[in-house]
């Protein structure tokens, strides 16, 4: 059922062909929707055939708007949700279905710091539990370990913070606690599901820098899920753009944001606020994300795509190589040889783009 071209390409950084810390192979998740009696056949196609690799010492970012399946993907990688199809590989071996051994190596930081800390527990309990569960610290040493964790996420003086309850902390401090809880078990992979989206702009950078620091100093493999492509460019080494449950474009962060190839990435970038931009933003596309119960045939972006061709409605495009390490799942790039440099392919896209616009206006 998977397209060979598609599954052959794994989105994510691949330095030196090392075994990735965590790998998603053709991950698919369909949520059953319960309608009335006898209507149980309907499913939400939340994530469809996604391949992703996370390497140690790199940040891979998954970018997409609400409902693109990025959080479902993160939760599948954390084994909170069982995938409908596909595999999660930990260090190249099939990962166990959740459980303590998995949580020792892979940790997830949730989006909403106001919901992810149980209001009835203090910091000592919240941070002490993972230490205890995984035997990281025992007895009197636990308090010291908790204080170390608090210091690592810059919650000082740790002696005071250890006594606090969640309601005594601000949003940014709570998110730091959530990150500290994930770090308590010394994981190899850190999955961060929109870790800064609920935070004030003023403290976002602090959390992003904390993640960058973890990557550089502790060589963590980090998945950074976000809807903010600008912050992904700032933090990530590799970006995978998701639309309606599929990865539409992936590549090195700077290259992808400088020369977006897929029409959806172009739309996303045109919608991102940029203080340097003089003219008011003109969106490179219109409409809203499709229903995932009955996703559009072929390419899921075609109803919104300004360059849609008849073929787009019929067949789902595989990922075409459009630059060094950059792939785009768009029929506009069909026939591009993998060797072409990104500049060339960018020009080619422009040519095709102009042509298709001309075709549309004439027709």
């Amino acid at each position: 059922m998977t397209d060979p071209t598609n599954s052959a390409r794994r989105h994510g950084a691949a330095p030196g062909g090392r075994v990735p810390a965590l790998e998603a192979r053709s991950l698919t998740k369909h949520f059953p929707v319960r309608g009335g009696w006898g209507m149980r056949k309907a499913v939400v196609h939340a994530v469809e055939d996604v391949n992703l690799v996370l390497h140690r010492g790199t940040v891979t970012s998954v970018v997409g708007e609400s409902g693109s399946g990025k959080s479902t993907l993160a939760r599948m990688l954390a084994r909170l949700i069982e995938p409908t199809a596909g595999q999660v590989l930990l260090d190249g071996k099939p990962a166990p279905a959740g459980g303590r051994e998995y949580s020792r190596l892979v940790q997830l930081v949730l989006q909403d710091p106001f919901a992810s800390l149980n209001p009835v527990h203090g910091m000592r309990y919240i941070l002490g539990r993972p230490l205890k569960i995984h035997g990281m610290a025992e007895g009197v040493a636990t308090d010291d370990a908790i204080k170390d964790l608090l210091r690592r996420v810059a919650l000082t003086p740790a002696e005071q913070f250890i006594e606090k309850m969640p309601h005594e902390l601000s949003g940014g401090q709570r998110q730091r606690v959530a990150i500290a809880r994930a770090l308590a078990v010394q994981p190899e992979v850190l999955l961060a599901d929109e870790p800064v989206s609920m935070l004030d702009v003023s403290i976002r950078l602090g959390v992003l820098n904390l993640l960058a620091d973890l990557r550089d100093r502790e060589q963590l493999a980090i998945l950074y899920v976000t809807h903010d492509i600008a912050s992904a460019r700032y933090l990530a080494d590799t970006i995978a753009v998701m639309y309606a449950g599929r990865v539409v474009e992936a590549g090195p962060a700077v290259q992808l944001t400088d020369r977006p190839q897929h029409p959806y990435t172009q739309l996303l970038l045109s919608a991102a606020p940029d203080p340097d931009r003089a003219e008011s933003p003109s969106l490179a596309g219109a409409g809203s994300p499709p229903s995932l119960v009955n996703p559009p045939s072929g390419c899921r972006f075609h109803p919104r795509c300004p360059f849609a061709m008849p073929k787009c409605a019929e067949q789902n495009p595989p990922a075409f190589q459009v630059g060094p390490g950059q792939t785009s799942a768009c029929w506009l790039h069909e026939g591009h040889t993998p060797k072409t440099s990104s500049t060339v392919s960018a020009t080619a896209v422009e040519e095709r783009t102009t042509r298709s616009i001309r075709d549309t206006s004439e027709g």
């Binding site: 459980g99 909403d112 149980n118 539990r129 569960i133 809880r181």
Partner: protein
């Protein structure tokens, strides 16, 4: 916590409940006659200095009967409240947390007990009890709690359903917590206000049911001696018709007062959980002084609303 006591309703409810608890503890020892059935005077005497609440058709002291009857009434209500609450927590929380077929079965069970007409059901069960069982307080409490857990279980199941998808439950799972620990240490502590409120409600229900069972004679009306026993004998000796109002009025008023105190306590728990209802902690004057508008109709707990800012103030600030 002490601030809650400022609310007259809660203070009154707590005061009444503590009063009855005190009577339940010391009642038998301060009663003028230790046997509620002892014949101590002429029949149908109205309340007087000698017999504070008069005498019965046989010449028993109503005041002693009332004092002695308090303890079994309260104890049986509390025990069956505890049993029913434990049942509702175990069944409701596990049904809500685990879902699936277990949830369907447990929900169906709760629904069956909800629609079961409790009183006839209890009468039938009691008729099957051996003679000794009919005067066994613990057994009575267990049987009453059988019909009292379903309401709480449904409420707790619904609350747990909303709780199990919360992020902190997922976060605990990611930390490697086992399911039973998540239920006991993450979910249940957040349900404490609901459980407390359900407990108070169940105690109220159990008291009403116990008094009703004794009143209609479905259980042994003499052992244990309770307020329901008094109502049973007053009714069967036509106290209302011959002017012996004090015989049924005394236990009747006590049932009503204890019930009221439980309802007021429930209001108190409600105010404690829901900060929007905290205005109840303030007097009407205090509210006005604080500039809070409260709508207080028919003795319902007032809901705090922000006073709308007068248009003039807004204009001044903008200019």
């Amino acid at each position: 916590m002490l601030r809650v006591l400022k609310s007259p309703k809660i203070a009154l409810g707590l005061g009444l409940f503590l009063f009855f608890t005190l009577i339940a503890i010391i009642g038998p020892s301060i009663a003028p006659y230790s046997d509620p059935l002892k014949l101590v005077g002429t029949p149908w005497q109205h309340p007087s200095g000698k017999f504070l609440l008069g005498t019965t058709q046989q010449g028993q002291d109503v005041y002693s009967q009332l004092l002695i009857g308090t303890r079994p009434t309260l104890v049986i209500s509390l025990i069956s409240g505890v049993i029913a609450t434990v049942l509702s927590v175990v069944i409701g929380v596990s049904a809500g947390f685990f879902g699936g077929i277990g949830d369907n079965l447990l929900s169906m069970l709760a629904n069956v007990f909800l629609v079961l007409p409790a009183l006839p059901f209890l009468i039938v069960i009691n008729s099957y009890l051996p003679a000794g069982g009919k005067s066994n307080s613990t057994l009575l409490a267990v049987i009453i709690s059988l019909t009292g857990w379903a309401w709480g279980a449904r409420v707790l199941r619904a609350q747990t359903l909303s709780m199990r998808k919360r992020d902190f439950v997922d976060a605990a799972r990611i930390s490697g917590e086992r399911s039973w620990r998540i239920i006991i240490f993450e979910v249940v502590p957040n349900l404490v206000p609901v459980i407390a409120s359900s407990f108070v409600f169940t105690v109220l229900y159990a008291m009403g049911t116990y008094v009703a069972l004794a009143f209609i004679g479905a259980i042994d009306p003499n052992a244990p001696w309770s307020w329901g026993s008094m109502l049973f004998w007053a009714q069967s000796n036509t106290a209302a018709q011959v002017g012996g109002w004090y015989w049924f009025a005394a236990p009747g008023i006590c049932v009503a007062l204890l019930g009221t105190s439980l309802v007021l306590l429930n209001f108190g728990i409600d105010e404690f959980i829901n900060p929007r209802l905290r205005a109840a902690g303030l007097s009407r004057k205090g509210l006005k002084a604080a500039g809070v508008r409260s709508s207080n109709t028919l003795g319902l707990t007032p809901v705090v609303r922000k006073t709308p800012v007068p248009a003039a103030t807004i204009l001044e600030e903008t200019v």
